[in-house]
């Protein structure tokens, strides 16, 4: 039964192997010089200034969440589109229902003012 999953196992092994391979090889091949600047968290870029605790407007999260929701819904449409012929009327109606629900949510979000930045 589990034989079916051998490709998955191989894939996992390849993934892990690649990661290990890259780290190991780069540590062997690359030159290694250790001094203070090198050991800073960020070797390059701006030096940190002020408090590290910065408040981000909650709008970010709202927008990000909305983006995720609608993005995922779109992803759902790909397999649907691929199988559209096979699904026939049933598929069409289902997607229509789905879209209507999405649309209602969209209207709700809009009316609620979640898309306004200020």
């Amino acid at each position: 039964m589990l034989v079916k999953y051998i490709p998955v196992l191989v894939m996992m092994l390849v993934g892990i192997g690649f990661g290990v391979f890259a780290v190991v090889v780069s540590s062997i091949l690359g030159p290694s010089r250790r001094f203070k600047v090198k050991r800073e968290t960020y070797e390059c870029g701006m030096p940190t200034e002020g408090a590290t605790y910065v408040q981000t407007p909650i709008k970010y999260y709202v927008v990000a969440l909305l983006f995720l929701v609608f993005d995922l819904e779109c992803v759902f449409m790909y397999p649907w589109a691929v199988h559209y012929r096979k699904l026939g009327l049933f598929g069409f109606v289902e997607m229509l229902v789905f879209m209507v629900i999405l649309f209602v949510c969209y209207v709700y979000v809009w009316k609620k003012g979640a898309l306004e930045w200020e």
Binding site: K4, H83, K86, L87, G88, L89, F90, G91, V93, I101, V104, V107, Y108, K111, K112
Partner: protein, 491 residues
């Protein structure tokens, strides 16, 4: 693996008609609520959702009797699902009626989201009764749970309400994880998620029945469902959550969630895993006993009536588990009957408690009820009826419900469990009747004034009281219905 095959199901609207109506209403309410922000003072949203629920209720009664499985076995349409949907519709109806009054004093609740979530929770509940697939059960459970997490914290200006929502959410997610893992194990064992096919697989492969994997799955599913029905030892969240949630929602949680979770529990355990009945009976016996005993004993020392009813709801879960342990058709019918009776009783009781709430806060201490029996005779009478029903005193419905549950246990040979059930009922008398005693015989310490109730909540309480008395005095109608529902369960 048959999962990979893809069959286009037929579009069967009838099978999901009540749920579709509820969903449509929910969306409509949401849109109406958001597009007219100035109607804060009216109850139009409540009445709009009321119409939807009533239509769903009628449609349920109309399709009652149909018996088929739809959407590749995802949705089962049989007497059982109709009965659960009926309970859910009644629960939602009474909750909305109570909310319409309650929201006058907690205007935050008067918005489209509140009713929308209520209706979506109802959709989830009713799908839990008609789901024929583990995946579908999980989806329904989450639909219901997520809506209720939010509803529990709906009084977002009150720390207690938010705390309650947070606790419920964290622990609920935790328990859902166990449930899902349990499903996964069962799927791993049997290779299917379809309840009927699981049973068929186990019939064909009896050696799997006692595999550790399947057993583990059953254990974890017990945890998941046990959490939702507030079974010991997964009941700890109940009092805190019930106390913090808005009163109108507490009743909804106690009755609707319980009904839905028991529906799914019965379907999964008796349809899919009927072969394991001998294995689970022992532990469920113990859990039933502990659940009702712990619930009743702790309820004795409560002074807050919502908290008391929370523990009482644990105890009632214990009584329901007695029917589950009995395992016979009689026991299952008893569970359905009891769920309906409990819905009327508990929503009635919470409806009365919600009557006292107003701007400053809620009056849920037992002392607040002192003298109310004479001050508001009808309210006192209604509360007394509901308390009698909870305690199981004839002619209220609780008596008949317990009669059916305990007699099914006796018939199935669990005489001691029935005896413990009766002893527990006796213990529970104390705290239920204390409410009545306080209402009628206690000196008034703090003068509680009940705001004049709106017509909606009066109608709701009358429906609940009629339901309680009807099921108590003439139980046959609903009892026959419950029995036919169980008989007609798709196996």
């Amino acid at each position: 693996m048959e999962m990979l095959e893809f069959v286009v199901p037929a579009l069967n609207v009838k099978a999901i008609l009540p749920q579709a109506i509820l969903s449509l209403t929910a969306l409509t309410v949401l849109l109406v609520g958001v597009s007219s922000p100035h109607n804060k003072k009216t109850s139009s949203l409540g009445y709009l959702s009321l119409v939807g629920v009533v239509v769903a209720l009628i449609s349920t009664l109309m399709i009652n009797g149909a018996r088929e499985s739809a959407y590749n076995g995802m949705v089962l349409m049989d007497g059982f699902s109709s009965f659960i949907t009926l309970i859910v519709c009644i629960v939602t109806l009474l909750t909305i009626l109570s909310s319409i009054n309650y929201q006058r004093f907690f205007p935050r609740l008067n918005c489209g989201e509140y009713y929308c979530l209520l209706l979506f929770a109802a959709v989830g509940m009713s799908f839990m009764g008609s789901a024929g697939n583990l995946l579908m059960i999980f989806l329904a459970l989450e639909t219901m749970s997520i809506s209720i997490y939010v509803l529990a914290g709906f009084k977002s200006d009150e720390a207690q309400s938010i705390e309650s929502a947070m606790k419920y959410f964290l622990l609920g997610a935790f328990a859902s994880g166990f449930l899902l893992f349990g499903f996964a194990l069962v799927y791993g064992c049997t290779g299917t998620m379809d309840l009927v096919k699981i049973s068929a697989f186990l019939t064909a492969h009896p050696e799997v029945i006692h595999s550790k994997m399947l057993m583990g799955g059953v254990a974890l599913m017990t945890v998941g469902f046990g959490f939702k029905v507030a079974m010991f030892p997964f009941h700890m969240w109940t009092p805190d959550v019930y106390e913090g949630a808005p009163t109108s929602i507490t009743g909804f949680m106690a009755t609707g969630v319980k009904a839905a979770a028991f529906a799914a529990l019965l379907r999964v355990f008796f349809v899919a895993l009927g072969h394991l009945q001998a294995d689970w009976t022992g532990i469920m016996w113990l859990l039933a006993f502990l659940t009702m005993t712990i619930g009743n004993v702790v309820a004795l020392s409560q002074t807050n009536i919502k908290r008391m009813l929370a523990y009482s709801s644990i105890a009632h879960a214990g009584y329901l588990l007695v029917g589950f342990v009995a395992g016979s058709k009689l026991g299952q019918s008893g569970i359905l009957f009891y769920l309906l009776s409990y819905a009327f009783t508990n929503l009635g009781a919470f409806g009365v408690i919600a009557l006292l709430g107003r701007d400053g806060g809620e009056y849920t201490s037992l002392d607040d009820f002192a003298g109310l029996g004479f001050k508001y005779p009808l309210m006192g009478l209604a509360m007394a009826v509901f308390m009698f029903s909870m305690a199981g005193i004839p002619p209220a419905s609780g008596f008949m419900g317990k009669f059916y549950l305990f007699s099914s246990a006796m018939k199935a040979g669990f005489i001691w469990l029935a005896i413990f059930g009766v002893i527990n009922s006796v213990i529970s008398l104390y705290y239920y009747l204390r409410v009545v005693v306080v209402m009628y015989f206690k000196e008034v310490e703090r003068d509680v004034v009940m705001p004049k109730p709106s017509a909606a909540v009066v109608v709701g309480l009358v429906i609940a009281a009629i339901g309680v008395l009807q099921m108590g005095i003439f139980p046959s109608y609903f009892w026959d219905m419950a029995r036919q529902s169980v008989q007609a369960m798709l196996m």
